[in-house]
């Protein structure tokens, strides 16, 4: 079967907080040049879910698709180093940016151009925008069923089945292929890239498309617009509790909490 994994390249979210600032005029987050690029966290789990399916079926091909202004090949090839087979990059400085449904439409156009597929696997949300919209909207645009927030994924015949965490427990749901699944970190740690994987990934030449290569990319007006972006005000008024020793401080803390009727 053919699995397509959607992977977004983001500024490393673990970089020091001071390297991110609000560019209020441009209504976006300005990122210091020192911040390395990274694969959006949950997309590593998406790749892992796809590769677990491939582990059990050697006829499975895993393709990676990513859309962005510019990609750092060593970073975006990480899923290939983990075991994915090929890479499709949609690169254009002038891509629809911001509105998630418009981004999903562009991804849908790219996936249609890649060709037939059985399963699309995506992350539950991107590490920079935390929307959790693009993948589900992509399924709607491709008109395939979607199962979100998977903590376990398996393919049985012509169906994909997942477990997902809901408010009061775990639901198991299934969908006919082709379908789209989004993956959460409870799936379990993504595998490491092996030396062999890294070498194999180096040899892969990505297919690179620009905006003009995709159908229906001149989507009409965006569905949403970002009208402001700012750093929220923080006012710290912490009361530090001290003591002769850590144990004395702890005792004082308990008493303070009791005074405030908090315990």
């Amino acid at each position: 079967m053919r699995i397509i994994v959607t992977v977004k390249q983001v500024p490393d979210p673990e970089a020091p907080q001071s390297s991110f600032t609000a560019d209020r005029a441009a209504k976006r987050v300005a990122v210091a040049a020192s911040v390395p690029a990274a694969v959006s966290d949950y997309d590593n789990y998406a790749a892992e879910a796809a590769l677990r399916i491939k582990d059990n079926d050697s006829d499975t091909t895993v393709s990676v698709v990513s859309l962005g202004e510019s990609h750092v090949l060593d970073v975006i090839k990480r899923p290939l180093a983990m075991g994915a087979d090929d890479l499709f990059l949609v690169q254009d400085p002038d891509l629809p940016n911001g509105d998630p449904v418009t981004v999903a439409a562009a991804l849908a156009a790219a996936i249609r151009k890649i060709g037939d597929f059985d399963l699309v696997v995506s992350g539950r949300q991107s590490s920079d925008l935390d929307q959790g919209i693009v993948a589900t909207a992509l399924a709607a645009i491709l008109d395939i069923p979607v199962l979100t927030n998977a903590i376990a994924v398996e393919v049985n015949g012509d169906e994909v089945q997942i477990d997902r965490i809901v408010d009061d427990g775990i639901d198991t749901v299934a969908a006919k292929l082709p379908a789209l699944v989004t993956v959460s970190n409870e799936l379990g740690q993504p595998r490491y890239a092996t030396m062999r994987g890294i070498m194999a990934a180096r040899r892969v030449d990505p297919t690179v498309w620009g905006k003009g290569d995709l159908d229906a990319m001149d989507a009409a007006d965006p569905f949403t617009e970002v009208v402001d972006l700012f750093a929220p005000e923080k006012s710290s008024n912490v009361e530090m509790i001290e003591g002769e020793s850590p144990a004395e401080a702890a005792k004082a803390l308990a008493q303070r909490l009791r005074e405030e009727r908090l315990i």
Binding site: I133, V146, A174, V227, M240, I241, A250, A254
Partner: protein, 332 residues
């Protein structure tokens, strides 16, 4: 469509058929918008045998409840609930649709937006009316920044962060309309199926309902260290234990104790933040807490700037003494 009017909220019911607390929160968000717009509030109530809940939603402030009640809707499934909300939206023709940013709401919202050919903003926590239309504020970059989104098309769809609004209080005996809606869903068009539900094994009370949450981070060191938290928790009524992602990913405890942007969202009266740094992704799940109490050996840890009380020290020394003193106070 034209003539969009009012706010439609999508209610949620729990496995036991009761209204989920998110419904009260959505109603309270809708009330603010409704007052600004001078337009009514309606609710979508979808499920099997849920008709009795319609009056509960009217008591919370809805003017009209659109009811989709049938076997087919016994369990949430994107492919059955999306057409149900669409059928309701066609009748209600709302200006704004509010959905909980819950596991099912997150699943529903984007699919619905595409089908209705309109825009959506997710995990919003500040809704307002500007020039007669919705604006929604949300966090980005793991909580470092706020972004404000506007919606050029109607209906505007927003999923609303859990606990962002205090739940609306019911006023019993309010009057409102209940409208039965027929979805006319063709079962053969449904390509997915619900297989089963397993209830979470909760010992004690749910974390979301706790008035005190005792949370440990990576600095707890290992499972044995983490388990010390339960000694403090056991002394405190209505309390629960939580964890950071670093703690769950390191295997100190069960995955489902994780609090944060992709975990649970809690807003207790007291939140003990022990040996955790206060990363923005974690704070997204607990910043609504009324009093955060931090214990950390690093005086520069970000968690102190988010806390009401702080103690600098190794938890291995601070926690046992805290437990001892709390035990004394609880007895006395």
């Amino acid at each position: 469509m034209a003539g969009e009017n009012g706010i439609l909220i999508v209610a949620e019911t729990g496995a036991d058929g009761s209204l989920g607390s998110i419904t009260n929160e959505l109603m309270s968000a809708a009330q603010g918008l409704s007052a600004d717009l001078g337009e009514p509030i309606s609710a979508a109530l979808i499920g099997s045998g849920v008709g009795d809940r319609a009056q509960d939603i009217i008591d919370l402030g809805a003017d009209t409840v659109y009811l989709v009640d049938g076997e087919q809707f016994a369990n949430y499934l994107n492919e059955t609930y999306t057409p149900a909300v669409i059928a309701i939206a066609q009748q209600a023709n709302p200006r704004i649709i509010l959905i909980g940013h819950t596991p099912n709401g997150r699943d529903l919202g984007p699919y619905l937006a595409v089908r209705l050919q309109t825009g959506i903003a997710s995990d919003t926590s500040g809704l307002s009316i500007e020039g007669g239309q919705l604006q929604a504020a949300r966090s980005v970059a793991g909580g470092l920044f706020r972004q404000v989104v506007s919606f050029p098309k109607m209906p505007a769809i927003a999923t609303v962060h859990m606990k962002a609004y205090d739940g609306a209080e019911p006023q019993s005996g309010r009057s409102g309309n209940v409208v039965n809606v027929d979805v006319g869903l063709d079962a053969s068009s449904v390509r997915s199926r619900f297989v089963k539900h397993e209830d979470a094994q909760v010992e004690g009370i749910r974390m979301e309902d706790a008035t005190i949450v005792v949370t440990g981070g990576r600095g707890m060191g290992d499972e044995a260290g983490f388990n010390e938290l339960y000694k403090l928790q056991a002394l405190l009524p209505q309390s629960a234990v939580g964890a950071t992602r670093a703690a769950t990913d390191s295997g100190f405890c069960e995955q489902d104790l994780m609090i944060g942007i992709t975990g649970r969202v809690v807003s207790p009266d007291v939140y003990f933040a022990i040996a955790l740094s206060g990363a923005s992704q974690h704070m997204a799940g607990c910043s609504g807490s009324k009093n955060i109490v931090a214990i950390n050996r690093d005086p520069e840890a970000n968690i102190f700037s988010e806390s009401r009380f702080g103690v600098v020290g190794d938890y291995k020394q601070v926690l046992p003494a805290l437990i001892e003193e709390v035990e004394k106070l609880m007895q006395g």
